[in-house]
Protein backbone atom coordinates (compact mmCIF):
# COMPACT_ATOMS: atom_id res chain seq x y z
CA UNK A 1 0.00 0.00 0.00
CA UNK A 2 1.23 3.49 -0.84
CA UNK A 3 1.47 5.27 2.48
CA UNK A 4 1.54 8.70 0.79
CA UNK A 5 -1.59 10.61 -0.21
CA UNK A 6 -2.26 14.20 -1.26
CA UNK A 7 -4.22 14.99 1.88
CA UNK A 8 -4.34 13.64 5.44
CA UNK A 9 -7.24 14.66 7.70
CA UNK A 10 -7.26 13.97 11.43
CA UNK A 11 -10.71 14.01 13.02
CA UNK A 12 -13.89 12.23 11.94
CA UNK A 13 -16.60 14.56 13.23
CA UNK A 14 -18.50 16.56 10.63
CA UNK A 15 -16.03 19.07 9.16
CA UNK A 16 -13.35 16.42 8.50
CA UNK A 17 -15.62 14.16 6.42
CA UNK A 18 -17.08 17.19 4.60
CA UNK A 19 -13.56 18.26 3.61
CA UNK A 20 -12.58 14.68 2.70
CA UNK A 21 -15.55 14.36 0.36
CA UNK A 22 -15.07 17.77 -1.25
CA UNK A 23 -11.36 17.12 -1.91
CA UNK A 24 -11.93 13.51 -2.97
CA UNK A 25 -14.54 14.68 -5.49
CA UNK A 26 -11.99 17.18 -6.82
CA UNK A 27 -9.56 14.32 -7.50
CA UNK A 28 -7.22 14.59 -4.51
CA UNK A 29 -6.25 11.32 -2.81
CA UNK A 30 -7.42 11.64 0.80
CA UNK A 31 -6.94 9.68 4.02
CA UNK A 32 -9.05 10.53 7.05
CA UNK A 33 -8.05 9.25 10.47
CA UNK A 34 -10.72 9.06 13.18
CA UNK A 35 -10.14 8.10 16.81
CA UNK A 36 -13.69 6.72 17.14
CA UNK A 37 -14.71 3.40 15.56
CA UNK A 38 -17.05 3.70 12.58
CA UNK A 39 -19.95 1.83 14.22
CA UNK A 40 -20.05 4.34 17.09
CA UNK A 41 -20.53 7.11 14.53
CA UNK A 42 -22.97 5.05 12.49
CA UNK A 43 -25.34 3.45 14.99
CA UNK A 44 -26.37 6.51 16.95
CA UNK A 45 -30.05 6.64 17.88
CA UNK A 46 -31.79 9.99 18.08
CA UNK A 47 -30.05 11.77 20.91
CA UNK A 48 -31.45 15.29 20.78
CA UNK A 49 -28.40 16.99 19.22
CA UNK A 50 -29.13 19.05 16.12
CA UNK A 51 -27.48 21.72 13.97
CA UNK A 52 -28.91 24.84 12.41
CA UNK A 53 -27.36 24.59 8.95
CA UNK A 54 -27.12 27.98 7.29
CA UNK A 55 -28.13 28.18 3.65
CA UNK A 56 -24.46 28.44 2.63
CA UNK A 57 -23.73 25.20 4.50
CA UNK A 58 -26.67 23.48 2.84
CA UNK A 59 -25.24 24.51 -0.54
CA UNK A 60 -21.92 22.95 0.42
CA UNK A 61 -23.65 19.68 1.36
CA UNK A 62 -25.37 19.76 -2.03
CA UNK A 63 -22.06 20.43 -3.74
CA UNK A 64 -20.38 17.41 -2.15
CA UNK A 65 -23.37 15.18 -2.88
CA UNK A 66 -24.73 14.36 0.59
CA UNK A 67 -27.74 16.70 0.64
CA UNK A 68 -30.14 14.23 -1.06
CA UNK A 69 -29.51 11.80 1.83
CA UNK A 70 -29.94 14.52 4.46
CA UNK A 71 -32.90 16.40 2.99
CA UNK A 72 -35.74 14.01 3.98
CA UNK A 73 -34.73 14.59 7.61
CA UNK A 74 -34.10 18.34 7.38
CA UNK A 75 -36.52 20.94 8.69
CA UNK A 76 -36.47 24.22 6.73
CA UNK A 77 -36.08 27.28 8.93
CA UNK A 78 -38.44 29.89 7.55
CA UNK A 79 -38.43 32.56 10.24
CA UNK A 80 -36.34 33.60 13.23
CA UNK A 81 -37.87 35.46 16.17
CA UNK A 82 -35.52 37.02 18.70
CA UNK A 83 -36.96 38.25 21.99
CA UNK A 84 -35.54 39.75 25.15
CA UNK A 85 -37.23 37.91 27.99
CA UNK A 86 -37.23 37.49 31.75
CA UNK A 87 -38.67 34.39 33.36
CA UNK A 88 -42.15 34.93 34.72
CA UNK A 89 -42.66 38.22 32.90
CA UNK A 90 -43.05 36.83 29.40
CA UNK A 91 -41.23 38.30 26.43
CA UNK A 92 -40.72 42.06 26.27
CA UNK A 93 -42.64 43.88 23.53
CA UNK A 94 -39.36 44.61 21.74
CA UNK A 95 -38.41 41.81 19.41
CA UNK A 96 -36.79 41.11 16.06
CA UNK A 97 -38.49 39.08 13.38
CA UNK A 98 -36.62 37.75 10.35
CA UNK A 99 -38.54 36.12 7.52
CA UNK A 100 -36.77 34.19 4.74
CA UNK A 101 -39.19 35.70 2.20
CA UNK A 102 -37.29 39.00 2.56
CA UNK A 103 -34.08 37.77 0.87
CA UNK A 104 -35.41 35.60 -1.95
CA UNK A 105 -32.86 32.80 -1.49
CA UNK A 106 -35.12 30.06 -0.10
CA UNK A 107 -35.19 29.08 3.60
CA UNK A 108 -32.64 30.76 5.89
CA UNK A 109 -31.33 27.36 6.76
CA UNK A 110 -32.23 23.87 7.89
CA UNK A 111 -32.33 22.05 11.19
CA UNK A 112 -30.69 18.65 10.91
CA UNK A 113 -30.08 16.11 13.64
CA UNK A 114 -26.49 15.17 14.31
CA UNK A 115 -27.08 11.46 13.62
CA UNK A 116 -28.53 12.07 10.14
CA UNK A 117 -25.56 14.21 9.14
CA UNK A 118 -23.06 11.65 10.42
CA UNK A 119 -24.73 8.77 8.59
CA UNK A 120 -24.91 10.73 5.34
CA UNK A 121 -21.18 11.53 5.54
CA UNK A 122 -20.22 7.95 6.44
CA UNK A 123 -22.17 6.37 3.61
CA UNK A 124 -20.81 8.88 1.09
CA UNK A 125 -17.24 8.13 2.22
CA UNK A 126 -17.79 4.37 2.21
CA UNK A 127 -17.15 3.51 -1.44
CA UNK A 128 -15.47 6.72 -2.56
CA UNK A 129 -12.59 5.77 -4.87
CA UNK A 130 -10.33 8.62 -3.66
CA UNK A 131 -10.97 8.25 0.09
CA UNK A 132 -9.66 5.95 2.74
CA UNK A 133 -11.34 6.15 6.15
CA UNK A 134 -9.07 4.81 8.91
CA UNK A 135 -10.91 4.22 12.20
CA UNK A 136 -10.36 3.73 15.03
CA UNK A 137 -6.81 5.06 14.99
CA UNK A 138 -4.88 7.48 17.16
CA UNK A 139 -2.15 9.83 15.98
CA UNK A 140 0.87 9.84 18.29
CA UNK A 141 3.37 11.94 16.34
CA UNK A 142 3.70 14.24 13.34
CA UNK A 143 6.75 15.56 11.49
CA UNK A 144 6.91 18.20 8.74
CA UNK A 145 9.69 17.56 6.23
CA UNK A 146 10.72 19.10 2.91
CA UNK A 147 7.74 18.68 0.59
CA UNK A 148 5.66 16.49 2.92
CA UNK A 149 4.37 15.79 6.44
CA UNK A 150 4.16 12.41 8.08
CA UNK A 151 2.17 11.11 11.03
CA UNK A 152 2.74 8.06 13.22
CA UNK A 153 -0.27 6.07 14.44
CA UNK A 154 -0.52 4.23 17.75
CA UNK A 155 -0.36 0.86 15.93
CA UNK A 156 3.13 1.76 14.69
CA UNK A 157 2.23 2.55 11.10
CA UNK A 158 3.26 5.76 9.35
CA UNK A 159 1.36 7.84 6.79
CA UNK A 160 2.45 10.88 4.82
CA UNK A 161 0.82 13.58 2.70
CA UNK A 162 1.48 16.95 1.14
CA UNK A 163 -0.67 18.61 3.78
CA UNK A 164 -2.20 17.59 7.11
CA UNK A 165 -5.57 19.01 8.11
CA UNK A 166 -6.45 19.18 11.81
CA UNK A 167 -10.18 18.70 12.26
CA UNK A 168 -9.81 17.26 15.73
CA UNK A 169 -11.77 19.70 17.86
CA UNK A 170 -10.97 22.43 20.32
CA UNK A 171 -8.30 20.37 22.08
CA UNK A 172 -6.72 19.59 18.69
CA UNK A 173 -3.66 17.37 18.99
CA UNK A 174 -2.72 18.30 15.43
CA UNK A 175 -2.49 21.97 16.47
CA UNK A 176 -0.52 21.13 19.63
CA UNK A 177 1.98 18.95 17.76
CA UNK A 178 2.42 21.76 15.21
CA UNK A 179 3.17 24.18 18.04
CA UNK A 180 0.06 26.30 17.47
CA UNK A 181 -1.08 28.03 20.65
CA UNK A 182 -4.66 28.83 21.61
CA UNK A 183 -6.48 31.72 23.22
CA UNK A 184 -9.28 30.42 25.42
CA UNK A 185 -11.71 31.69 27.96
CA UNK A 186 -14.65 30.32 29.86
CA UNK A 187 -18.06 32.00 29.95
CA UNK A 188 -19.09 30.49 33.28
CA UNK A 189 -22.16 29.25 31.43
CA UNK A 190 -23.28 25.76 30.54
CA UNK A 191 -25.63 24.82 27.73
CA UNK A 192 -28.42 22.36 28.43
CA UNK A 193 -29.29 20.65 25.17
CA UNK A 194 -32.26 18.42 24.46
CA UNK A 195 -35.20 17.91 22.13
CA UNK A 196 -38.90 18.19 22.93
CA UNK A 197 -42.12 17.10 21.35
CA UNK A 198 -44.91 19.62 21.47
CA UNK A 199 -48.66 19.59 20.84
CA UNK A 200 -48.78 22.45 18.32
CA UNK A 201 -46.79 22.74 15.05
CA UNK A 202 -43.79 25.11 15.08
CA UNK A 203 -44.37 26.44 11.56
CA UNK A 204 -40.64 26.34 10.78
CA UNK A 205 -39.98 29.23 13.17
CA UNK A 206 -36.80 29.39 15.25
CA UNK A 207 -37.02 31.31 18.52
CA UNK A 208 -34.28 32.87 20.53
CA UNK A 209 -35.08 34.32 23.95
CA UNK A 210 -32.41 36.29 25.72
CA UNK A 211 -32.77 35.40 29.40
CA UNK A 212 -30.64 36.95 32.17
CA UNK A 213 -28.73 33.65 32.66
CA UNK A 214 -28.12 33.14 28.96
CA UNK A 215 -29.97 32.62 25.70
CA UNK A 216 -32.65 30.00 25.13
CA UNK A 217 -32.98 28.77 21.55
CA UNK A 218 -35.92 26.73 20.32
CA UNK A 219 -35.16 25.35 16.88
CA UNK A 220 -37.72 23.54 14.70
CA UNK A 221 -37.01 19.87 13.90
CA UNK A 222 -39.06 17.66 11.57
CA UNK A 223 -42.55 16.84 12.86
CA UNK A 224 -43.84 18.47 16.04
CA UNK A 225 -40.39 18.46 17.61
CA UNK A 226 -37.92 21.20 18.50
CA UNK A 227 -34.31 21.22 19.60
CA UNK A 228 -33.66 23.23 22.74
CA UNK A 229 -30.39 24.93 23.59
CA UNK A 230 -30.66 26.56 26.98
CA UNK A 231 -27.60 28.40 28.29
CA UNK A 232 -27.49 29.22 31.99
CA UNK A 233 -25.05 30.23 34.71
CA UNK A 234 -22.98 27.16 35.40
CA UNK A 235 -24.27 26.63 38.95
CA UNK A 236 -27.91 26.91 37.94
CA UNK A 237 -27.36 24.75 34.87
CA UNK A 238 -25.84 21.95 36.97
CA UNK A 239 -28.69 22.28 39.42
CA UNK A 240 -31.27 21.94 36.61
CA UNK A 241 -29.32 19.18 34.85
CA UNK A 242 -29.54 17.06 38.00
CA UNK A 243 -33.36 17.08 37.92
CA UNK A 244 -35.27 14.16 36.45
CA UNK A 245 -37.15 14.80 33.19
CA UNK A 246 -40.28 16.09 34.95
CA UNK A 247 -38.28 18.43 37.14
CA UNK A 248 -36.34 19.63 34.09
CA UNK A 249 -39.56 20.38 32.20
CA UNK A 250 -40.93 22.26 35.22
CA UNK A 251 -37.81 24.43 35.23
CA UNK A 252 -37.98 24.95 31.46
CA UNK A 253 -41.70 25.85 31.14
CA UNK A 254 -41.63 29.40 32.56
CA UNK A 255 -38.98 30.38 30.01
CA UNK A 256 -40.33 28.29 27.16
CA UNK A 257 -43.90 29.55 27.50
CA UNK A 258 -46.94 27.73 26.14
CA UNK A 259 -47.00 28.87 22.51
CA UNK A 260 -46.27 25.30 21.33
CA UNK A 261 -48.79 23.67 23.69
CA UNK A 262 -47.86 20.86 26.09
CA UNK A 263 -44.19 19.75 25.84
CA UNK A 264 -42.51 16.39 26.55
CA UNK A 265 -38.84 15.45 26.26
CA UNK A 266 -37.54 13.11 23.57
CA UNK A 267 -34.01 11.75 23.32
CA UNK A 268 -31.28 12.40 25.85
CA UNK A 269 -30.24 15.55 27.66
CA UNK A 270 -26.70 16.91 27.25
CA UNK A 271 -24.67 19.57 29.03
CA UNK A 272 -21.86 21.53 27.37
CA UNK A 273 -19.67 23.98 29.26
CA UNK A 274 -19.45 27.12 27.15
CA UNK A 275 -16.14 28.65 26.27
CA UNK A 276 -14.23 30.23 23.47
CA UNK A 277 -11.05 28.60 22.16
CA UNK A 278 -9.31 30.12 19.16
CA UNK A 279 -6.07 28.93 17.59
CA UNK A 280 -3.64 31.86 17.27
CA UNK A 281 -2.79 30.65 13.76
CA UNK A 282 -4.83 28.55 11.34
CA UNK A 283 -1.73 27.16 9.63
CA UNK A 284 1.75 25.87 10.37
CA UNK A 285 4.38 24.08 8.26
CA UNK A 286 2.25 21.70 6.08
CA UNK A 287 -0.64 21.94 8.58
CA UNK A 288 -4.03 23.68 8.37
CA UNK A 289 -6.78 23.73 11.00
CA UNK A 290 -10.53 23.70 10.36
CA UNK A 291 -13.66 23.77 12.52
CA UNK A 292 -13.36 23.77 16.31
CA UNK A 293 -9.64 22.99 16.02
CA UNK A 294 -9.35 26.47 14.52
CA UNK A 295 -12.09 28.22 16.49
CA UNK A 296 -14.41 26.83 19.13
CA UNK A 297 -16.92 29.65 19.44
CA UNK A 298 -19.89 30.34 21.67
CA UNK A 299 -22.85 28.38 20.25
CA UNK A 300 -25.14 31.35 20.82
CA UNK A 301 -26.11 31.80 17.18
CA UNK A 302 -25.70 28.19 16.09
CA UNK A 303 -22.71 29.24 13.99
CA UNK A 304 -20.15 26.63 15.07
CA UNK A 305 -20.71 24.04 12.34
CA UNK A 306 -21.45 26.76 9.80
CA UNK A 307 -18.12 28.45 10.51
CA UNK A 308 -16.40 25.06 10.21
CA UNK A 309 -18.01 24.34 6.86
CA UNK A 310 -16.92 27.77 5.71
CA UNK A 311 -13.34 26.77 6.55
CA UNK A 312 -13.90 23.61 4.52
CA UNK A 313 -15.19 25.49 1.48
CA UNK A 314 -12.43 28.11 1.62
CA UNK A 315 -9.67 25.50 1.99
CA UNK A 316 -11.10 23.51 -0.93
CA UNK A 317 -10.96 26.62 -3.15
CA UNK A 318 -7.39 27.40 -2.05
CA UNK A 319 -6.11 23.84 -2.62
CA UNK A 320 -7.83 23.41 -6.00
CA UNK A 321 -6.60 26.80 -7.27
CA UNK A 322 -3.05 26.01 -6.16
CA UNK A 323 -3.10 22.59 -7.82
CA UNK A 324 -4.47 24.05 -11.07
CA UNK A 325 -1.50 26.40 -11.20
CA UNK A 326 0.89 23.53 -10.52
CA UNK A 327 1.85 25.02 -7.15
CA UNK A 328 2.84 22.92 -4.16
CA UNK A 329 -0.67 22.97 -2.64
CA UNK A 330 0.56 21.99 0.82
CA UNK A 331 3.29 24.64 0.76
CA UNK A 332 3.45 27.78 2.86
CA UNK A 333 2.32 30.08 0.05
CA UNK A 334 -0.96 28.24 -0.56
CA UNK A 335 -1.72 27.78 3.14
CA UNK A 336 -1.08 31.48 3.80
CA UNK A 337 -3.98 32.26 1.44
CA UNK A 338 -6.30 30.08 3.54
CA UNK A 339 -5.06 31.78 6.68
CA UNK A 340 -5.69 35.29 5.37
CA UNK A 341 -9.10 34.33 3.97
CA UNK A 342 -10.41 32.75 7.18
CA UNK A 343 -8.59 34.45 10.05
CA UNK A 344 -10.52 37.70 9.84
CA UNK A 345 -13.93 36.03 9.49
CA UNK A 346 -13.22 33.75 12.40
CA UNK A 347 -12.07 36.47 14.75
CA UNK A 348 -15.00 38.65 13.77
CA UNK A 349 -17.48 35.85 14.44
CA UNK A 350 -15.90 34.92 17.77
CA UNK A 351 -15.93 38.55 18.89
CA UNK A 352 -19.50 39.09 17.70
CA UNK A 353 -20.95 36.03 19.41
CA UNK A 354 -18.92 36.78 22.53
CA UNK A 355 -20.08 40.41 22.59
CA UNK A 356 -23.67 39.42 21.90
CA UNK A 357 -23.58 37.00 24.79
CA UNK A 358 -22.08 39.55 27.18
CA UNK A 359 -24.64 42.14 26.10
CA UNK A 360 -27.62 39.86 26.56
CA UNK A 361 -26.68 37.50 29.40
CA UNK A 362 -27.37 39.87 32.25
CA UNK A 363 -30.14 41.72 33.97
CA UNK A 364 -28.63 45.19 34.04
CA UNK A 365 -31.65 47.50 33.45
CA UNK A 366 -29.61 49.97 31.38
CA UNK A 367 -28.25 47.27 29.06
CA UNK A 368 -31.69 45.74 28.86
CA UNK A 369 -33.16 49.06 27.75
CA UNK A 370 -30.33 49.60 25.27
CA UNK A 371 -30.64 46.16 23.68
CA UNK A 372 -34.42 46.45 23.50
CA UNK A 373 -34.11 49.74 21.65
CA UNK A 374 -31.43 48.21 19.41
CA UNK A 375 -33.66 45.27 18.52
CA UNK A 376 -36.56 47.65 17.85
CA UNK A 377 -34.39 49.71 15.51
CA UNK A 378 -33.13 46.65 13.61
CA UNK A 379 -36.64 45.27 13.38
CA UNK A 380 -37.98 48.54 11.97
CA UNK A 381 -35.38 48.73 9.20
CA UNK A 382 -35.83 46.38 6.22
CA UNK A 383 -32.20 46.89 5.14
CA UNK A 384 -30.82 45.95 8.57
CA UNK A 385 -33.23 43.03 8.78
CA UNK A 386 -32.03 41.71 5.42
CA UNK A 387 -28.38 42.12 6.45
CA UNK A 388 -29.07 40.04 9.57
CA UNK A 389 -30.92 37.40 7.57
CA UNK A 390 -28.07 37.12 5.06
CA UNK A 391 -25.58 36.84 7.91
CA UNK A 392 -27.66 34.13 9.60
CA UNK A 393 -27.99 32.32 6.28
CA UNK A 394 -24.20 32.47 5.87
CA UNK A 395 -24.34 34.49 2.67
CA UNK A 396 -22.24 37.52 3.69
CA UNK A 397 -18.56 38.12 3.01
CA UNK A 398 -16.20 36.59 0.47
CA UNK A 399 -18.09 33.38 -0.36
CA UNK A 400 -16.13 30.24 -1.34
CA UNK A 401 -17.40 28.65 -4.56
CA UNK A 402 -19.04 25.67 -2.78
CA UNK A 403 -21.30 28.14 -0.94
CA UNK A 404 -22.11 30.52 -3.78
CA UNK A 405 -25.14 29.96 -5.93
Amino acid sequence: MDTHSDILIVGGGLNGPALALALGNAGFSVRIVDSLPKDVREDAEFDGRAYALALGSQRLLSGIGVWPTVEPNAQPMLEIKVTDGRAGEGPSPWMMHFDHAEIDEGPMGYLVEDRHLRRAFLSAMEDHPKLEHIAPATVVDQTAEAGRISIALADGSTLSASVLIGSDGRSSGTAQRAGIKRTAWDYGQTALVCAAEHAKPHGGIAHQFFMPGGPLAILPLTGNRSAIVWSEDRAKAHHVAAFDDDGFLDALRPAFGDFLGEITLCGERFTYPLGLSIATSLVADRVALIGDAAHGIHPIAGQGLNAGLRDVAALVDVLIDARKRGEDFGGAQALARYQSWRQFDTTKLAMATDGFNRLFSNDNPLLRAARDIGMGVINASPALRRAFIREAAGLNGDLPSLMAR
Partner: protein
Protein backbone atom coordinates in the same frame (compact mmCIF):
# COMPACT_ATOMS: atom_id res chain seq x y z
CA UNK B 1 25.35 18.32 -25.55
CA UNK B 2 27.31 20.66 -23.31
CA UNK B 3 24.73 20.24 -20.53
CA UNK B 4 26.04 16.77 -19.70
CA UNK B 5 29.26 18.27 -18.33
CA UNK B 6 27.42 19.76 -15.35
CA UNK B 7 25.39 16.71 -14.41
CA UNK B 8 27.59 15.52 -11.56
CA UNK B 9 27.74 17.43 -8.32
CA UNK B 10 30.82 17.38 -6.09
CA UNK B 11 29.59 15.89 -2.77
CA UNK B 12 31.44 18.53 -0.76
CA UNK B 13 29.40 21.15 -2.57
CA UNK B 14 26.03 19.60 -1.77
CA UNK B 15 25.57 21.27 1.60
CA UNK B 16 26.28 24.63 0.01
CA UNK B 17 23.78 23.97 -2.76
CA UNK B 18 21.16 22.80 -0.27
CA UNK B 19 21.53 26.09 1.58
CA UNK B 20 21.22 27.97 -1.72
CA UNK B 21 18.12 25.94 -2.64
CA UNK B 22 16.56 26.80 0.69
CA UNK B 23 17.37 30.44 -0.02
CA UNK B 24 15.81 30.32 -3.51
CA UNK B 25 12.62 28.84 -2.13
CA UNK B 26 12.37 30.94 1.04
CA UNK B 27 9.14 32.92 0.60
CA UNK B 28 10.42 35.72 2.84
CA UNK B 29 14.03 35.62 1.63
CA UNK B 30 16.10 37.11 -1.15
CA UNK B 31 13.70 35.99 -3.87
CA UNK B 32 10.53 37.21 -2.14
CA UNK B 33 9.55 39.50 -5.05
CA UNK B 34 9.70 36.55 -7.43
CA UNK B 35 7.62 34.36 -5.09
CA UNK B 36 5.06 37.12 -4.75
CA UNK B 37 4.78 37.40 -8.52
CA UNK B 38 4.85 33.66 -9.18
CA UNK B 39 1.10 32.97 -8.67
CA UNK B 40 0.09 35.44 -11.42
CA UNK B 41 2.87 34.19 -13.70
CA UNK B 42 1.56 30.63 -13.22
CA UNK B 43 -2.01 31.79 -13.68
CA UNK B 44 -1.11 33.27 -17.06
CA UNK B 45 1.08 30.37 -18.18
CA UNK B 46 -1.38 27.61 -17.23
CA UNK B 47 -4.34 29.43 -18.79
CA UNK B 48 -2.49 30.09 -22.06
CA UNK B 49 -0.99 26.60 -22.37
CA UNK B 50 -4.35 24.96 -21.57
CA UNK B 51 -6.10 27.13 -24.19
CA UNK B 52 -3.45 26.60 -26.89
CA UNK B 53 -3.23 22.83 -26.48
CA UNK B 54 -6.87 22.26 -25.50
CA UNK B 55 -6.14 20.93 -22.03
CA UNK B 56 -8.49 20.86 -18.99
CA UNK B 57 -6.79 22.17 -15.84
CA UNK B 58 -9.16 20.08 -13.70
CA UNK B 59 -7.53 16.91 -15.06
CA UNK B 60 -4.92 15.33 -12.79
CA UNK B 61 -1.99 15.80 -15.23
CA UNK B 62 -3.26 18.34 -17.76
CA UNK B 63 0.12 19.02 -19.41
CA UNK B 64 1.06 15.37 -19.94
CA UNK B 65 2.79 14.89 -23.29
CA UNK B 66 3.91 18.53 -23.59
CA UNK B 67 7.62 19.34 -23.71
CA UNK B 68 8.28 22.66 -21.97
CA UNK B 69 11.51 24.71 -21.82
CA UNK B 70 12.04 27.39 -19.16
CA UNK B 71 14.85 29.78 -20.07
CA UNK B 72 16.50 31.43 -17.08
CA UNK B 73 15.02 28.81 -14.77
CA UNK B 74 16.83 29.97 -11.61
CA UNK B 75 15.88 27.74 -8.67
CA UNK B 76 13.04 26.15 -10.64
CA UNK B 77 10.10 28.31 -9.53
CA UNK B 78 8.32 27.72 -12.86
CA UNK B 79 9.80 24.32 -13.80
CA UNK B 80 8.42 22.55 -10.72
CA UNK B 81 4.79 23.62 -11.26
CA UNK B 82 5.02 22.62 -14.95
CA UNK B 83 6.39 19.20 -13.98
CA UNK B 84 3.63 18.82 -11.36
CA UNK B 85 1.07 19.42 -14.10
CA UNK B 86 2.57 16.52 -16.04
CA UNK B 87 4.83 18.26 -18.58
CA UNK B 88 8.28 17.03 -19.58
CA UNK B 89 10.40 19.95 -18.44
CA UNK B 90 13.83 21.26 -19.36
CA UNK B 91 15.14 24.14 -17.27
CA UNK B 92 18.04 26.12 -18.74
CA UNK B 93 20.11 28.76 -16.98
CA UNK B 94 23.21 30.62 -18.10
CA UNK B 95 24.28 30.91 -14.44
CA UNK B 96 26.04 27.61 -13.67
CA UNK B 97 25.50 27.80 -9.90
CA UNK B 98 21.69 27.69 -10.29
CA UNK B 99 21.70 24.22 -11.86
CA UNK B 100 22.65 22.00 -8.88
CA UNK B 101 20.51 24.20 -6.64
CA UNK B 102 17.44 23.62 -8.81
CA UNK B 103 18.25 19.88 -9.06
CA UNK B 104 18.41 19.46 -5.30
CA UNK B 105 15.08 21.18 -4.77
CA UNK B 106 13.36 19.15 -7.51
CA UNK B 107 14.60 15.99 -5.82
CA UNK B 108 13.20 17.19 -2.47
CA UNK B 109 9.89 17.85 -4.22
CA UNK B 110 9.91 14.39 -5.81
CA UNK B 111 9.91 15.83 -9.33
CA UNK B 112 11.89 14.85 -12.42
CA UNK B 113 13.25 17.89 -14.25
CA UNK B 114 16.11 18.12 -16.74
CA UNK B 115 18.17 21.13 -15.61
CA UNK B 116 20.99 22.29 -17.91
CA UNK B 117 23.67 24.93 -17.81
CA UNK B 118 23.23 26.29 -21.31
CA UNK B 119 21.73 29.10 -23.38
CA UNK B 120 18.78 29.41 -25.76
CA UNK B 121 21.17 29.98 -28.68
CA UNK B 122 23.20 26.85 -27.89
CA UNK B 123 20.08 24.69 -27.55
CA UNK B 124 18.66 26.09 -30.81
CA UNK B 125 21.83 25.24 -32.74
CA UNK B 126 21.71 21.73 -31.20
CA UNK B 127 18.24 21.37 -32.80
CA UNK B 128 16.18 21.02 -29.57
CA UNK B 129 12.38 21.38 -30.05
CA UNK B 130 9.63 22.24 -27.55
CA UNK B 131 5.86 22.70 -27.47
CA UNK B 132 6.20 25.63 -25.08
CA UNK B 133 9.06 28.03 -24.42
CA UNK B 134 8.82 30.07 -21.20
CA UNK B 135 10.85 33.23 -21.47
CA UNK B 136 10.13 35.12 -18.28
CA UNK B 137 12.00 38.28 -17.27
CA UNK B 138 15.00 37.44 -19.47
CA UNK B 139 14.75 39.51 -22.63
CA UNK B 140 15.44 42.80 -20.80
CA UNK B 141 18.82 41.38 -19.71
CA UNK B 142 20.18 40.11 -23.06
CA UNK B 143 22.56 42.01 -25.32
CA UNK B 144 20.83 41.19 -28.63
CA UNK B 145 17.05 40.79 -28.13
CA UNK B 146 16.38 40.10 -31.81
CA UNK B 147 18.97 37.31 -32.03
CA UNK B 148 17.78 35.89 -28.73
CA UNK B 149 14.09 35.83 -29.74
CA UNK B 150 15.03 34.24 -33.08
CA UNK B 151 16.72 31.43 -31.12
CA UNK B 152 13.54 31.07 -29.02
CA UNK B 153 11.50 30.76 -32.23
CA UNK B 154 13.84 28.02 -33.51
CA UNK B 155 13.32 26.11 -30.26
CA UNK B 156 9.56 25.88 -30.92
CA UNK B 157 7.86 23.11 -32.81
CA UNK B 158 5.49 24.37 -35.50
CA UNK B 159 2.29 25.31 -33.63
CA UNK B 160 4.33 25.85 -30.44
CA UNK B 161 3.69 28.58 -27.87
CA UNK B 162 6.15 31.25 -26.70
CA UNK B 163 5.34 33.08 -23.46
CA UNK B 164 7.50 36.10 -22.78
CA UNK B 165 7.33 38.66 -20.01
CA UNK B 166 9.41 41.77 -19.47
CA UNK B 167 9.18 45.40 -18.31
CA UNK B 168 7.79 48.34 -20.27
CA UNK B 169 9.96 51.42 -20.96
CA UNK B 170 8.31 54.67 -19.80
CA UNK B 171 8.61 57.12 -16.88
CA UNK B 172 6.30 55.00 -14.71
CA UNK B 173 8.34 51.84 -15.20
CA UNK B 174 11.47 53.80 -14.24
CA UNK B 175 9.73 54.97 -11.08
CA UNK B 176 8.34 51.51 -10.20
CA UNK B 177 10.95 49.01 -11.37
CA UNK B 178 14.14 50.97 -10.71
CA UNK B 179 13.35 53.61 -8.05
CA UNK B 180 10.61 51.59 -6.30
CA UNK B 181 11.82 47.99 -6.50
CA UNK B 182 15.59 48.58 -6.35
CA UNK B 183 16.13 51.83 -4.44
CA UNK B 184 13.15 52.12 -2.07
CA UNK B 185 11.77 48.61 -1.39
CA UNK B 186 15.19 46.97 -1.96
CA UNK B 187 13.32 44.02 -3.47
CA UNK B 188 16.09 43.71 -6.04
CA UNK B 189 19.79 44.56 -5.81
CA UNK B 190 20.67 47.97 -7.27
CA UNK B 191 21.66 47.62 -10.90
CA UNK B 192 19.50 44.52 -11.51
CA UNK B 193 17.78 46.37 -14.33
CA UNK B 194 18.92 48.90 -16.90
CA UNK B 195 15.98 51.07 -17.79
CA UNK B 196 17.24 51.67 -21.35
CA UNK B 197 17.03 47.91 -22.00
CA UNK B 198 13.33 47.78 -21.13
CA UNK B 199 11.07 47.09 -24.12
CA UNK B 200 7.62 48.45 -24.92
CA UNK B 201 4.87 45.92 -25.79
CA UNK B 202 4.76 47.19 -29.38
CA UNK B 203 8.52 46.83 -29.74
CA UNK B 204 8.33 43.29 -28.34
CA UNK B 205 5.52 42.33 -30.72
CA UNK B 206 7.67 43.74 -33.53
CA UNK B 207 10.73 41.75 -32.47
CA UNK B 208 8.69 38.55 -32.19
CA UNK B 209 7.09 39.06 -35.61
CA UNK B 210 10.54 39.60 -37.14
CA UNK B 211 11.68 36.40 -35.40
CA UNK B 212 8.92 34.51 -37.21
CA UNK B 213 6.32 34.29 -34.43
CA UNK B 214 2.72 35.43 -34.41
CA UNK B 215 1.83 37.53 -31.32
CA UNK B 216 -1.59 36.45 -29.98
CA UNK B 217 -2.02 38.01 -26.54
CA UNK B 218 -0.62 40.55 -24.06
CA UNK B 219 -1.57 41.32 -20.47
CA UNK B 220 -0.24 43.44 -17.63
CA UNK B 221 0.93 42.34 -14.19
CA UNK B 222 -0.22 44.96 -11.71
CA UNK B 223 0.93 45.24 -8.11
CA UNK B 224 -1.77 46.28 -5.66
CA UNK B 225 -0.10 47.94 -2.67
CA UNK B 226 -3.24 47.78 -0.52
CA UNK B 227 -3.61 44.00 -0.87
CA UNK B 228 0.14 43.52 -1.37
CA UNK B 229 -0.44 41.06 -4.20
CA UNK B 230 -0.08 40.96 -7.97
CA UNK B 231 -2.96 40.56 -10.35
CA UNK B 232 -3.40 40.23 -14.11
CA UNK B 233 -4.78 43.23 -16.00
CA UNK B 234 -6.16 43.40 -19.53
CA UNK B 235 -5.48 47.14 -19.79
CA UNK B 236 -2.57 48.16 -17.59
CA UNK B 237 0.69 47.10 -19.27
CA UNK B 238 2.53 50.17 -18.03
CA UNK B 239 5.21 48.34 -16.01
CA UNK B 240 5.33 44.52 -15.95
CA UNK B 241 3.65 42.69 -18.80
CA UNK B 242 3.50 39.28 -20.44
CA UNK B 243 2.88 38.19 -24.02
CA UNK B 244 1.92 35.05 -25.91
CA UNK B 245 3.02 34.24 -29.46
CA UNK B 246 2.78 31.12 -31.60
CA UNK B 247 5.01 29.66 -34.26
CA UNK B 248 2.93 29.11 -37.39
CA UNK B 249 2.26 25.43 -38.04
Amino acid sequence: MQAEATNTVDPSEIAKFEAMAAEWWDLEGKFKPLHMMNPVRLEYITTQVAAEFDRDLDDPLPFKGLRILDIGCGGGLLCEPMARLGATVVGADAAERNIPVARIHAEQSGLEIDYRHTTAEAMASAGEQFDVVLNMEVVEHVADPQGYLTACQQLLRPGGLHLCSTINRNPKSFAMAIVGAEWVMRWLPKGTHEWSKFITPDELFDLMTKAGMEPVDRKGYVFNFARFTWSISDRDLSVNYVTAATKPA
